[in-house]
Amino acid sequence: MSITLNATLKTAQDGISHRPIVKITSSPAESAIPYRGNNFNTGSYIEENRDLIVTSTGRLANLYVRGENLYLYYTDTARTQWQAPVQIADLVDEILSASLCELANNDLGVILITDNYDLKYMIISQVGAVVTAPTNIQTGISWLGAPSVITLANNTYLLVYSQGTGVAPDQTKDYYLYSRTSSNFTSWSAASALTLTGLSLNNYKNNPDLLQITSGRTFLHFDYMSDYQNQVELNNIYYMTSDDNGSSWSTPVAVTSYTAIGTRGRQPTAAEQSGGDITIAYQEENAAMYLNDDLDGYPGDRCFEGNALQYDETTKTLVHASVSCGVLNTFDNIARIDCTDNSYVKYWNGSTSPATLPTPTAMLRSQHPYYVFVSGGDYVMVLDVESDSWTKYALCCAKGVTHAVGDCNCVTGNCGQYGWDSYGQIHAFVRTVGGQDRLYIAKADGYTYAHFLFGYIDLAKTPDPITGEYTWHEVHYGSGYELGWLPNHGFGGGTLSDFFWIPEISRFCVCSYSGNNYGNYGDLGVALFNDAGDIQNAYVYDTNSGMPHGGVSEAIYMNGSIWFIFDYDSNYPDRRGLGRINLANDTITYHEANWFSCSTENCGFGDLTDMGDGERILLHSAKSGCDKGGVVIFNTVDFGWTVFNNTTMPGMLAKDSNPACGMNCDAWTAINVGLGYDSVTKTICAVYDKGFTCDGTSHGVIAFSEYGAYSTLKYTTITTPDGTPTYGSPTDLSYYDFEYNPALAVDGDGYLWLTWDHMDTLTENDLMWANSADDMELQDYLDINKNLVVEWGLQQFNKLDFALSHGHLFDPLNFSSLWSVYLKMGRILTLEIGEEVSDTDYYQDQGKFVVKETSLVYGLSYPGIRVKAEDLWTLWEDARIVASEYFSGETPKTVIENLLVDHAGMAGADYSIPTFSGSHDLYHQFLDITLAEAVQLVLDHFGYYPFMNVDGKFEPRQIDFTDSVDHTYAGAEIIEYTPDSSYATFINRVIVTGMSNLFTEVLYEEESVTRTNGTVGHWGGSKDRTVWYAEDRQRTCRNPRLEIIMSVSEFQIWGIKGGGSEQISSTDPDEHYVIITIEIPDLTGILIATMAALVALGVACSYCDGYFTGWCGYCINAAMILCNLIMYILGAAANYNYNIWARPIGHERMTFEAIAEDVDFQQQLNGKIIPETIDDPFCYTMESCRNVADFELSVVMAQRRRLKFKKTGHLMDEMGDVLRISHPYSGETIDTYVTNLKRILKFGDNAAMIDEIEGWRLV
């Protein structure tokens, strides 16, 4: 399969005179907009952006305030690099704002406003040299906002600024927009107030932005405060136009339409595009963000109700549970949100694949990627969001009894007196121990006497294929009485309310709770167990009167204390709020809310969440007292509270129909899973559900930041600016959420430039820049003294290597350079090579590559830059698959497609997976493996190799030694030829082993499986002994045989063997045990008769003559005999000792082994066999093993026929082609399967395009 070239290009390539051309295009891996931005510097400053222009010389000039002073960043006229910033004004007063324009002599005019509200101008050169120092235009003003100044087409200057009679936003004052004009920038006209029809005089206007477009029309955009409540502003963007250089203006028209307090638009900036339309940008601020039914892509028939969530900061993953969608407390779905861009990823319920069956009833504490749910008292379910799999652990079985519920797999173990399913008090969490992910499950039951157990299941383990049971590792089992801490009234009087591991002190924490609804028993609270399951501490009211009487509903460990919550009990009015057990001295203290009084009411909290800084706890506050509701942070060091609700953070609940009603009323069963925290953006996310029991219909997840309101830059296009301007729908211009003060400009090439500032921390704002020049062609900078080399190979990445001039500008770490982005690691390079034919360029794609490495040296020589790039496969080398889904009977095509979609994020257009020759279904789960290795495993089995084609699409190809010739070279193209055995080996036998994917029952050799022994006595008779093959009663065996070590036939009485026997009388139908029947003589009748005789003798001899020599003597003798007889009978006993032999039953997968022989080569080596063994996980049958062995041997043999040659390049050739050449000496035809192709472009006086071919000679 060779590349089909354009016909003209092919003709040129077939010729001997070439005019090669090359194109290298650098592109971002993602769309440039929304901008992530590039830093101007790495300094830790507070930088606030102010204004950006493109001068007539081509320079960019950007004005900004750093600290209290004014600075200028500018570029060279070719806009390749930002020069070091120049401080242009350092006044006694703080500079609040500034604007600039270009003067007629190319200097820059600057208007600035100081913090004592002086309006000044200054003039600087284009490189920041001060020409005229700051000079007052007007002083003594009560308040000034921001200015905007532009150079009009008639070479005069127009200035607009906001001014008030008091400091904004005081609504008792008056606010104006004033304009002034100047012909020389040093003398200014008197201020003239603009007519702002429809806008209130008492609401301030600010941030004017002037733009005169090519037609002469001048646009003025500004923001206007249209409402003000609870010290929160509602602002919208307006525009006006002037067709007479600002002498008169149109009526203000709103551009944005924010109507709810908490959301607003400010800081407009506009620039004219090369086509005449206008781009306008502004910052949109939201006090909070909402994740709800409106998420893009979220299915319309599902609800997003805000019942439980867990957030993983490392992966920015939020998993959310929705309940009560139309029916109270009825499960709807679990959804995954990617919080890097708040995008909906996927949801699961009973109808999805995989399905959430059975229905979850509660979400529990989790650890990414595992999210834990329970269903009633019967199931614990684990969602692995990375492998998109649900695993169900059925707790439906009593000890030793196979599961009986549904299609679940069963967890067996010491389930106690009542078994797993007696009462539904379950808690579970995931903990990693020594690299093993364990699902710990705790279970409590009992009314009067509590039973409590916990242990774990290894999440990596699969159930026994025959029994369907998981292995349960018990850590602790006991009852209340045995332990002395658990409720003597049993968990039936309360609940097992929390269960988690505390790594800092290596303890399990178990909480029990009754609240004040079920009666207080005084024996509920907190217990700590060590890793071995031994109780270490217990904190309950009965033994520590400082504890809440009804126990603890949730707990968390921090700073040497257990912090807990509970419901208020009026019998113990001194206990409310957040409780603390100081583990150092076992004292109990309480911390009440300090922002409202709760003397006679519940001050309850919910959802205790560790904020990860070792100091602060996040809680839902007053979850059942709506007017106190919100989110609070408790500091465990200084015991301070920080409250977030609609009062302290106005606008936070702006979208709520009744924001005073708190946040969370319909709590699902969610312990510690209602809140999340991101330490980078300081974002708190909280479930927010008021659909049923509270007033209001808002629901979902609310996210807000400790930094304050989110601020995103938006932009849109204004069309028909010369007529009636039409504003498009705004979309995101910035990627992140704390972006401010945008400034736009369009350069002479038509590229849009944006500068702004980004909040890095509460004390640092970084100045940022970006432009719309997504792509850059690099070929004009190719260093002609270095070669461009592109390589393709069977077992390697496709590689691209070249060198460019201007290394100092392409240097990815030269933040001042505007070109530094083009060779950043991860940029996509598209390579095209072609020929110029009759002044027309014809290109052929050569592939897409990811920039992996750049190098340059700053020294005395010119700093060229060396660039190395590899195809997309290189990304897969680092993409580790922890656990893929289990592929059960999927084709290799489907398996690879799923791997690429799930683990490489590829779309269907990015790959073209063929239907594999010799395809068969695969049964496999990839564990702890890179994506590249996983794909390669599959390809190797079927004799394919990974290939990124010239369009950058992943297109695996088959190694086929029967391919027909793609291209014949007569000889004029060949430069060098050589056989090459450097990769050859002496291997002449290939052995491939495999294993069936099905389990087969097997009988092992007979062995002694168990022993039993004991004693039988005068009570004798027939006795059955049940002998299990193993203590855990799980082992199965067949054909049991009894080996008698000591037999009951040895039973003796009066020195005479009394007989007796033993035998296997029956076996368990399930083959877990045998029953041995032991038969011995039953002496019970003789004993009774003897005893009766003794009694009768006693009666008969009661009146004997009293002489030993008389009748009494006979009586005494007879009595002694009878007593001896009784003693003999009572003392009669027999020991037995048996060894049970049987054939254990197992389930094994059948193994296969296939051998392929290179007999000829073996004979050449005088019969010496050099084997290679391959263990192939996909060989399920002998036939499959044989196919792999034959193929691998053919590759080994082909390596002994390897050759390489060098020829003039031809763009038609690619890896996997069969090329035909003639032997340089004999002229014999040689067909070569191309395994490696290196294409070398030489420039300058060494101009050439050479193909270096390596391959296998086909025979």
Partner: protein
């Protein structure tokens, strides 16, 4: 008219000057059975120009030397009808020590330019 470099018009015409012709970046590859020819085209960019004077007045020498020290790209007009953006890469000369001319003149003066682009 005289040859110009930047803002300076040469007071003395040079004794010799490289002609700013385009250079073809090309090569032939001899193969086992023939030849192949590759050409990336003809470029004037990168061409190195040498302009020589047997002697030069010191005032002119100083004026040209000032252009070199200014370290900036300048326009070179060789009076051929085309002008070029050039970098001055070298300017050398010897003292002209004689009983008649003293040190006021330089001899064996060489000016080296690299053409960056055609204007």
């Amino acid at each position: 008219m005289s040859m110009q470099l930047g803002s300076y018009t040469f007071a003395q015409p040079p004794g010799s000057c490289t002609q700013p012709l385009k250079k073809r970046r090309c090569n032939e590859i001899e193969t086992l059975g023939g030849v192949a020819f590759f050409s990336w085209g003809a470029f004037v960019e990168g061409q190195k120009i040498e302009i020589k004077w047997r002697w030069m007045a010191t005032t002119m020498f100083d004026a040209v030397y000032a252009l070199l020290v200014a370290d900036a790209q300048v326009v070179w007009d060789p009076e051929t009808g085309d002008t070029y953006n050039v970098e001055i890469t070298g300017f050398t000369g010897d003292y002209h020590l004689s009983a008649y001319a003293a040190a006021e003149n330089k001899k064996n003066v060489i000016l080296k330019l690299t053409i960056m682009s055609q204007v």
